[in-house]
Subunit: 329 residues, 4 copies
């Protein structure tokens, strides 16, 4: 595979949507135009690949979307793509549409599908990490993560108003699946008193002891940020009951931030990151790469073997945990 | 009671906090200074009144708070204030501090307390409507309501990104207690397909039928705004299950917006409203009024007998319901 | 003209854009659909009317625009529409497209054009007040005004951070043409020390004296909100020089907020207002009204003779000026 | 100098304020408490050092400031600190207050002062890079830069609404002094058609040619982001006149974003960065470092010799310029 053989690139988004996906699509399209390659949008992820739900995109097709959350190509889960028959249909559609390569934007599920498809049909695929969870290996940041951090921090700033006014304790559940990145960073940013993450098991008793100490030290309200994947935080209502029984000092409330974390206008960082990765995806295809994820490491665009990207997410930063402990004093 | 007899005004916030309460306190303080009256802040509502938790406030004490959510005087519920003994303590504290009149900022619970206190001790009290729920009679708007509408609409804008990207149906629960004002207005503003409010019983079947029709008409995603006090929306998880069983066209998700609705920097409207009401409260006291709420009706500041303000909340605007029906086509 | 004779409505936006215009278009379109009337979008205001730049709109054409600033129908000034020939072309295009009535969304210039056109051709036109300036008679609020207030207040909140940190004086110029509504309300909302509006001539000396007094009273920084139409504020750089010469206590800086005030996602209030007015426009046409503006007065939708709407803007609220004076103490 | 000899740390902010400075102060204070070191706030930068304007700070002194723009310690320029006499007074005050080390938060001017002071009195000083301009060597990011990027991008999103609605060209001036980082990144993030930065001289003719090409390619509006330090952008009004004469295709407008860029609630990134750097500053002092800046490189906290940090700012990223060119197609 060399540069001259790629004449038409397909682009799709798959899995949970993330702010910046539109910016990434835009960059793939415009970068294709820049290299005089045609670009085809595939709707609803692998589902649309199987159904042949395609639309030619040009530079103007992607105007005024860099600032929009979600993905205008839409996303979906596809059970059929897990079957050999489904993938064969997808391959046939690509051949018929004379698409030579794919850019898939999504998370680990998306990449798993891409790996299988690439192996079966020797079809060139480049992946971009698009998920708010920041749980992809081989990239410092995923598209949407920075925006989600700001959304969480702004939400907790609002909750803090009430917590302060009423001397309350709030348990705030945030997303992140098995990764504590959102909880840890947004927890530091929001000035949380405690942060519960899957990578570290705190235990209910230590949590209550710590909250008691901080109440004694003069704190009149408290925010506990709880990652959805945390051991004791998974059952957040049960945790709240336990706290109510064992910590009479505060009135305890629960807020589950939910899906607001996946949407919203992307932050500048996510827009720039998505733009760089989108350009990088087309560069990689033109350089003959066939089964890689494009990521950012130390502020440089890198390509990582797909399988590497799934080798367990980045470990949590011990330095950050120490910072969180110190500044919540 | 005439102007010359009021030399010192106490101000407190009580009940749930609402954005703009700080702006109202600021206006009461500065209006007092303007009229060369002293002003005393009472912390934690009626609880602080009973405990004598007072602090003299001057024009500089309230700088840089107009833009802050919550209430720097803090708020609390007070069981003791429901007792004759509690109220007697409160009265004694006011006498000792030579406070001649009170401004209480809060909702119906706050006003109920104020009515009893005023009657027992013939103590001048003026109330300001501070609640996001807009459920006070005799005022077109309560302090915090406009901000809450914007918070809800911004949150649903984010959720819409995901709904659109995945062709999903979202049930979004919003606050408002027994009043549908937040749900109806934010529902219109967010372009919701359906809005469930306590004032109108839709029934689960009609809801499902209507959602089916809108799906058939070409809608690919759907937002249903559910007021926390709505008959079928109260049990939002049960409602979601019912929808999942009877409407296979969408994947159905639930988001409870929760306490983010009570916080945040107040909107311009709430800051101006709170400032006008705060000035109006001091004017009313100087005019000899003793048991009134200051509200806004047709953009004019008015005073309303306390008891009037509690006579059942304003009815829902039928015109708005019609608008909601038409524009969700 | 009665209900049955209107089968197709044209809708256009003209003059400066304002947040909420899209929500108004959406409501006109969906209300037309509701009444089984066809709706045609006319691009670039009267310019597109003359050029026949039309596009049929249905309920789905206006999805996902309620939350967007600007106007997707675009806006333009049209010199040609000021000529008899231009208007004749416009009329011919309307006849050819079998459009029976127009809804025009804009400010006074838009309404002036509508009045002439209605008189010349006896063509039914209903106007909606769309301008951030709130300078239209016969409506309490114009579409876009509430959003602009929030934009200004958020911007000044940011500037206040720097003013406070450096003990500075900032002159902040805001829009509004000859109306001081934005300056006065946003000035109160932002906690400005002084507010300069066209309706009230303060004079440079009184301004400086007042700033000196407030400095002496303990203020360490100061925000002066200056309406672009104010007598001494029009030349804001000259005013800054004058202040620098006569008030050594502060370092004086100038910020012109500019066009950020016209854009942005509309506030909930503007979305609801625009939706109500859009529905009201179609109602009015169906009721046989032919040359009116639809406005909101005391929270009720009203229709106002076009000429009334241009009879000098609403006077400034004296009560608000008093509030501004008191709370900036 | 070893760990045991530092018993009291002074902290100050100097130069232009930047969002996140409060978060940095908070981290310095709480990290001091964590290490059982006392912490003293010094008001108004070096000016307050000379005047002895000090206040002891504890963990509670810095509550509820992590989300606030500006600096509660205030900032100022100090002419007197440029003199030997001024610095001697400052030193005497530090000795009298038994302060053993300083943390100074600011930009290059702040660090220059720190270098001289450290050399004259052999006084331990650690600097933190606090400026929106990102123009400090030895750190990938400065405190406040990420927030400023988001502020700029949000402002241009609003301006884009109007640009799109009216087919206009907007020149938008952004801050950054001699560094193009803000312009380049915010320009990419805002989807600007052209970006003018000091590091690259485009020339007026090439700019006009490029805008003509993009108009021909189908763009109906245009945003040009202009760095305040750019050669042809410095005189932005002159540039606008030149464009008006040579590019009749658009109506050309100018907006100077101004001081809104320095304020506002810090982004999550800036809060976390400031927290890490603040903790790092105290760590460095305890490790015996005496004249270093604490920065972040490749997501690790590093210490850099003060003089290194001033050796010309980081070069602009050529890769980013290429991305900007490609995605503005």
């Amino acid at each position: 595979m060399n540069k001259t053989t790629i004449k038409r690139i397909g682009v799709l988004t798959s899995g949970g949507d993330a702010p910046g996906m539109n910016a990434a699509i835009r960059a793939v399209v415009r970068s294709s135009v820049y290299h005089t390659i045609e670009c085809v949008g595939i709707f609803r992820g692998y589902e649309g690949l199987i159904e042949g739900d395609f639309e030619a995109l040009n530079a103007r097709s992607v105007k005024n979307i860099i600032n929009r959350g979600g993905t205008f190509l839409k996303s979906a889960r596809s059970e059929e793509f897990r079957t050999k028959e489904g993938r064969q249909k997808a391959y046939n559609n690509l051949k018929k549409a004379e698409i030579d390569a794919l850019v898939t934007i999504g998370g680990d599920g998306t990449f798993n599908g891409a790996i299988v498809f690439n192996e079966e049909f020797d079809f060139p695929i480049v992946g971009l990490p698009g998920t708010i969870d920041n749980d992809i290996n081989g990239t410092d940041y995923t598209i949407g993560y920075d925006t989600a951090l700001n959304t969480v921090v702004e939400a907790i700033d609002k909750i803090r108003d009430t917590a302060n006014s009423h001397n309350r304790l709030f348990l705030v559940e945030v997303m992140g699946r098995d990764a504590g990145d959102i909880a840890l960073n947004a927890g530091i940013g929001a000035g949380a008193e405690e942060i519960l993450i899957p990578e570290q098991d705190m235990g209910r008793d230590r949590l209550v002891e710590s909250l008691k100490r901080s109440k004694k030290s003069g704190k009149s309200s408290s925010i506990v940020v709880v990652s959805e994947g945390d051991q004791i935080g998974k059952n957040i209502l049960g945790l709240a009951d336990y706290i109510r029984e064992n910590l009479k000092e505060y009135e305890c409330k629960v807020t589950v931030l939910g899906h607001i974390q996946r949407g919203g206008a992307p932050s500048c960082y996510d827009r720039v990151l998505a733009s760089r990765l989108g350009v990088g995806a087309v560069d990689a295809l033109l350089n003959g790469e066939r089964a890689v994820m494009i990521g950012i490491v130390h502020n440089k665009i890198v390509s990582v073997n797909f399988k590497e990207s799934l080798k367990g997410s980045n470990k949590i930063d011990e330095d950050l945990i120490r910072v969180a402990d110190i500044i919540s004093i």
